[in-house]
Amino acid sequence: MRLKKSTLERLPLSTKGSRCELRTMSKIALFGCLLIGFLWSSDGVAQEYGARLGTIKRGGKVSFEPTGPGILFDALDPVVRKWYVPQELYAEYGWDARAYTNYANQLYQRYVSTALEGDYFYDIYGNYLMHGWLVYDWRQENPQPFGSMVEKSGRFSSWFSNLVIASDHKGQYHYAITIGNQIRSTLTPMTFSKPLFDGLQWDFLSDKYAGTLVMSRISEPGVSGANPSQQTDNTNLIGGRVEVQVGDFAKVGGTFVNAHQAYTQLESFSGDMFKGALTGPQNFASISRIDVRISDDSPEDGTGGGALFASDIVLYDTDGKQTRGSEIGFRPLIEGGFQRRGYLAADGSEQIKISYDFNDRTYAGPDLAAIERARVELVVANDYRIEIASDQQETFLPLAQATGNVKDNSNQRVIAFDYGIPTANQIAGFTLEVDNLAGFRSYLEVNVNQQFRQYPNPGLSRHHVVGEKEMAWLLNISRSKYPFFAFAEAFDVSPRYATHMYVVDRNNGTVDFSNDFLRFEFVEDNDDQDRQPDWRRKGWESGDREVFPGWDENNDFISDFNQNDNEDSPNLIPDYEEPFLRFHSDRPEFLYGIDMNHNGWIDRFENDEMADLPYKPDFKGYNAYTGFHLGPAWRVTLGQQRVRQISAKRRNLATYLIATADVDIFSWGRWVLFQDIRKVKDTIPDDLFQWLQPANTRGGMRLVTDPLAAPDTWINTTWMGFDLTRIRGLRWENKLKWQLYHQLGDPIALALRDLRERAYFFGVINKVEYKVNWGQTTWIPRWKSEYRHQADVNGAVAKRREWDQFLSFLVRFPFLRSSSIESGIEYEIFNQLLNPTPPGGVDSFRGLITTIQLSNLSEYQGYKLTTTIGFELARREFEFDQVETRTRGFVAIYAGVE
């Protein structure tokens, strides 16, 4: 309960002024006592929260609307004395600064923070929103310095773990606004696909329509808990996708992704927002030098590199006047290049550098401050690669490259381009998806990539913009009607189709085009499909140090070839070489699968350092196959692949016949066949970055070069496996792999490239295990044989012919209540079947490994402890060398909860 202010106002005033009579005094005292008593009783009933909790009243209204101060009639008395508006202290604590305070009876109340439940927030119209806390705030205001602000308060991470979702729905209509630091987000595989997107995603879905909007300030998306990040120069991303279901079978989609530099001191509508703006440092001074570099796009052949016939520059000033460099005697400084008749040649590693230096004494063109556009014209031919830089952009950026590997000047042309600093990258496209229309399924995606550049001039607010268009499309179509099936894919991705953008450096507003840490990717490289992109890029600078696609089928982030390795207890021996474990784990050479790029690696195990586009830039071609099922177990496929590299005269042509079988043999076991024979002409290098584990290491990423082993080659791969499962306790597995590379090319050319005319791998693995329980004791005898006969495609690598056998025997028996003792012995017979032992090979030897281990399971302080104590003795006796003996003793305790 409250008293009217007018009543309270009169209380002190009535005791001042003229002399008071005793009667009046006693009335006042009585009234005061009554008042105190009343206040006392009312305070005792309920806590007074004051105006902060929304009970302020004026004119009889409860309001938090931003209306500004009004007229207070109570303060209209014409007195000279300073009049204080009774605000917080009076309203919440009843305290008048001039009134005597006595807490004898009414005990003192401590100050209570008025912001315990947050602040008041209003929308853009001034509507009161709520009383609470700001969690996320992103706004950009132009024109003003530091106009781009992103704030993620500490509550964004501490309360919401860096993810906030606002959603609503009614009937079939749903939408959600998701703001997070690590959002899995995909529009289409060719335009935008990231496992970690730091920004905002706004999704809409109905029965027929779907839409998504993604937005982020990608140069500095904000750090939770840090001060609001206010920037003048920044890079923004905006993208979206709309999908419409057309009829029962088709779905049409449109995609748009744009990343652009922004400079908040400019007016928003001073240009096309999607074409971006030059940042402050980029537009700080006029361009005074433009450099063009011409080099050989295929330097490995040493001839037919870029040919420069003529060059010129055209300058456009702000008055619209056009000045041609050659007409004013402004000639470039040309460095490098071999002089041929009529042209300069950049063959092999040679480079031609053309510098237009506007500070040169021969320059008599328009004033630098008046140049709004500079156009470079080059007459070039052959296998050129053209890059451009300037004093405002020191890193050379690619501009054009020749198609194919031309050496005879037949592609001579005039290339004219406007110089500019990249300001935006945009992809717009559409998709058409057909599902089961007359048995056909197809997916078509067409994208246009536009890369915008602008010419700096500090005197201008609008700059000359130039854009380049690159195309990318793909089509997948399939039909299946038992027993027949067919599939075709075609694609064409321009060499300079780009799904990245170099972002502004938050520290200085510059853009460093040589720094990959400042490169934001629309489509990430994430070959192992985990939550971490493989490479180190803007937004994910730490990268992924362990990438083994396909080798981690149990998703524990540990290579399945070294399953017993972890950070706390590193294991430096791959499982297929480790005693006892090697019974179950076979070498990767014995794996099988499809290798469509013919680099010697099964495609599903490949890791590269490229964006995960379905088809790589700079390639076009098709692949088509058809086939039929022969019953439920057999399948035969015949197909052809034609892939060409656009910028070079390289191709990957293959015709293939594949037969697969998976046969259950009278419930005794399973027989599997994979037969792949193909004729290949492959000159496209597909280098990889593979996880390898060299001896005595924990493994790491290594560059693996494509040996280009199939220039004109028959490749046969046969893999057979048979597992017997019928007899209980008995496990019998057999694998055979035979791979042959038969070269058809010129033997001299093969010899020059160190390629064997016939390279092969023949390997057989047989293993038997029988588990017998005798009382409480378990006996496990095992035998494994691994035979390998190999001639690598690289002629410099020695042939191998080896036979390795392991005989082991394990016995396990319980000991007391929760302990067990396990003992094993493994005898290895390694036969080097080549004489003499080839370089890098191992001599024949006999090895014996004996181990004993006590395992204890117990509970301790709520944890379940597993304790192992053991000893291992290994001995190897080589045929021509000394005896090696190795021992290992160990005690280890592992604590867990289950």
């Binding site: 040493g302 037919g304 040919a307 016939f309 003529a310 050659s326 007409e327 004013i328 005697g329 400084l333 040309i334 460095e335 490098g336 290049g337 071999f338 002089q339 041929r340 008749r341 009529g342 042209y343 092999g348 590693s349 040679e350 230096d357 040169d360 004494r361 007459v379 031919a381 198609t403 194919g404 590997n405 031309v406 050496k407 005879d408 000047n409 037949s410 592609n411 001579q412 042309r413 005039v414 990959d516 840490f517 490479w535 180190r536 890029r537 990268g543 140090r545 430096l572 350092e609 005269k649 970055f689 060299p694 005595n696 290491t697 924990r698 790491g700 990423m701 290594r702 560059l703």
Partner: protein, 641 residues
């Protein structure tokens, strides 16, 4: 009598000296085998190479930056630096681009750390890098401590060895043989560590329980830029020396000659060198570049200052003065583009395209290769003439735009300029695409002079005329030929027939005004074709007849096809095939390779079997199979008896 003897003697002496001057032979400058030693760089003025590794840059005055050149492995020859397998090259980290660091050795002053690290690679066995408790740092952690040797460039290595003091070399005053690294890892990388760009470190050795004071790790020979030694044990340790044993050749190396002072301006002839390949030629190369100058400082030194009114300025000073300036007064160093040409690539036995005549010349040799594949250079030579043929021989051709294929007449002018004695020229060699139809109307300073066409080939013609040596002498002549390519350049060389081995390249530029349409700034030796014609490989195809009558009456028994191949720089396959109206190929008239220019072929109407084709209409198809695309032309022809 005596007087006359003296006069005659003096006259003879003067005549002899004059004849000596006049008959002075072409001089040859030789660096390397049979000439000046490579180690001396040409025994001239120290080179000045601008290195932009800071805001103001610095000048390198050595002939072998980074000591990357080998002089001893093959006496008299140079190559990228070769390392014997027994050679410890760890001290190379002390060169400009190299470094040795211990980035996580904190709690130790940087000066002390730097001295200790220096002591681990300089052969000083009394100084070691220590990671041991001290009074000021009693809990120095040894685990994880890294020592990184950065060679600044890839070097071939095959072995890494490190040890504490008093092990390999007795140091009784420092008996720390037991303070070896009890657990270690050795990592290498051929680039700067950058996992973002496929450059992760590679672990080559690891021993958690090392018991050997001397750690000796063999590595397969390979290029390495970084060698990292990491301690895996918390036991304190020290490293007396880290030894890195090299092998093979450096992957890249540069040799820069002195600024060769020829004494006066000179016409420089063909540059030639002897080159040898080690290993596979495909994996190595050497690039020779040359530049010429008017003075002995290719770098502009500048001093910064502040003017009377506080306005900053930069003025040019000489190098000596520059090196005495304090750091704040040194202005940015820039290339002297006014007096020195840019580096021009040279080819063995060819004339350099660097401008001349000049007094100063400098060469740069850039080697590239692999660990056991490289190049060696034995001798670098060039001839030069002093006085030069001319100070300037500026030439231009007009018109500079002509329609392809069509016969055109070109005017050619050469203007001689001299600032002192010159030898002059009496022969010109001009490059063309095809043989010139006619050369006429030669004039010197507007007056007709006699001339002789010495040769007229498909790629050049040579003219001979009386010696021209006067300052301002203008030689003009006219020739006729069609052009077939954008950028047909009539470059040329002037010879003095007494010293024919040292020609002087004609410098494109304004020599004379050929009329109001001749804009001085555009003057050059190149002729363009209209842009619309760029991109076509064949011009007009002309048939002598549309109707072939192979009946032996002598009329239209044969037809002749004429066309011009355009644009191409290499011989290209061209074929002409005859098809019947059903699309069957009935004859291939020709299928062979042709160069740019006119082609004439005949056909007598015979088919593949040597018999006349049946009367009727046929389709001819001409294909030009160029690298970039196949250009196809087709038409019809009739055979009538």
């Amino acid at each position: 009598m005596v007087r006359s003897v003296i006069v005659s003697w003096v006259f003879c002496c003067v005549a002899f000296c004059a004849s000596l001057v006049d008959a002075q032979n072409v001089r040859t400058f030789t660096l390397g085998l049979g000439g000046r030693a490579w180690t001396g760089g040409g025994d001239s003025i120290d080179p000045e190479i601008l290195v932009r590794d800071s805001a103001i840059g610095r000048v390198d005055t050595t002939n072998t930056p980074e000591e990357a050149i080998e002089f001893l492995h093959r006496p008299g020859w140079i190559s990228p630096r070769f390392f014997n397998p027994e050679e410890n090259i760890a001290s190379r980290v002390l060169l400009d681009r190299g470094s040795i660091t211990a980035p996580n050795s904190l709690l130790i002053s940087s000066a002390v750390r730097r001295l200790q690290l220096l002591g681990t690679v300089n052969g000083d066995h009394n100084v070691a890098f220590e990671r041991k408790p001290t009074l000021s740092n009693p809990e120095a952690n040894a685990r994880g401590i890294l020592v990184i040797l950065d060679f600044g460039m890839p070097v071939g290595i095959h072995r890494v060895r490190f040890y504490p003091r008093n092990t390999v070399v007795p140091t009784p005053n420092a008996p720390f043989q037991d303070d070896f690294m009890r657990g270690y890892e050795v990592w290498i990388n051929d680039r700067q560590t950058n996992t973002a760009q496929n450059a992760p470190d590679e672990l080559v050795a690891r021993d958690e329980k090392n018991e050997s004071p001397i750690v000796d790790v063999e590595i397969p020979p390979q290029y390495v830029r970084l060698v990292k030694v990491r301690s895996l044990s918390s036991t304190p340790f020290e490293i007396d020396e880290v030894e890195v044993y090299g092998t093979g050749y450096l992957s890249e190396a540069r040799y820069v000659t002195d600024l060769i002072d020829l004494g006066d301006r000179a016409t420089i002839g063909r540059v030639r060198w002897t080159e040898n390949t080690v290993g596979q030629p495909a994996f190595s190369s050497v690039g020779v570049r040359v530049r010429t100058g008017l003075d002995d400082t290719p770098v502009v030194y500048q001093r910064k200052g502040v003017g009377e009114f506080g306005d900053p300025f930069v003025i040019e000073i000489d190098g000596e003065e520059y090196h005495q300036l304090d750091r704040l007064s040194k202005g940015p160093l820039i290339e002297d583009e006014e007096n020195w040409s840019p580096w021009k690539s040279a080819e063995n036995g060819q004339l350099s395209t660097a401008p001349g005549p000049r007094r100063y010349v400098q060469f740069r040799l850039d080697f590239a290769g692999r660990i056991f594949d490289t190049r060696q250079i034995g001798r670098l030579q060039f001839d030069y003439l002093q006085p030069p043929i001319a100070d300037t021989l500026r030439a231009e051709v007009f018109p500079r735009l002509a329609e392809a294929e069509k016969a055109a007449t070109f005017n050619y002018a050469v203007l001689l300029k001299s600032t002192g004695p010159v030898r002059g020229y009496d022969r010109l060699e001009i490059d063309t695409n095809i043989q010139v139809a006619a050369i006429r109307n030669m004039r010197l300073n507007g007056e007709p002079i006699d001339f002789e066409v010495i040769e007229n080939e498909s790629d050049r013609f040579t003219l001979s005329f009386p010696l021209i040596a006067g300052d301002g002498d203008l030689l003009e002549f006219t020739f006729d030929l069609p052009i077939f390519r954008f950028g047909s350049t009539f470059s040329g060389r002037a010879y003095n027939s007494r010293w024919p081995t040292v020609p002087q390249i004609l410098e494109p530029g304004n020599a004379v005004s050929f009329g109001p349409e001749d804009i001085d700034e555009l003057a050059s030796l190149a002729v363009a074709i209209p842009q619309a014609q760029v991109g076509k490989l064949v011009g007009q195809i002309v048939w002598s007849t549309d109707v072939l009558t192979p009946n032996g009456d002598g009329i239209n028994d044969e037809l002749e096809v004429f066309f011009n191949l355009l644009q191409l720089t290499l011989p290209t396959p061209v074929s002409l095939e005859i098809y019947d109206l059903a699309g069957r190929k009935v004859h291939t008239v020709f299928s062979d390779e042709h160069r740019i220019g006119p082609v004439i072929k005949r056909w007598d109407g015979m088919g593949e079997d040597g018999r006349p084709l049946l009367p009727g209409s046929y389709i001819w198809v001409m294909r030009i199979r160029a690298d970039a695309f196949e250009e196809v032309h087709a038409g019809t022809i009739a055979i009538v008896y």
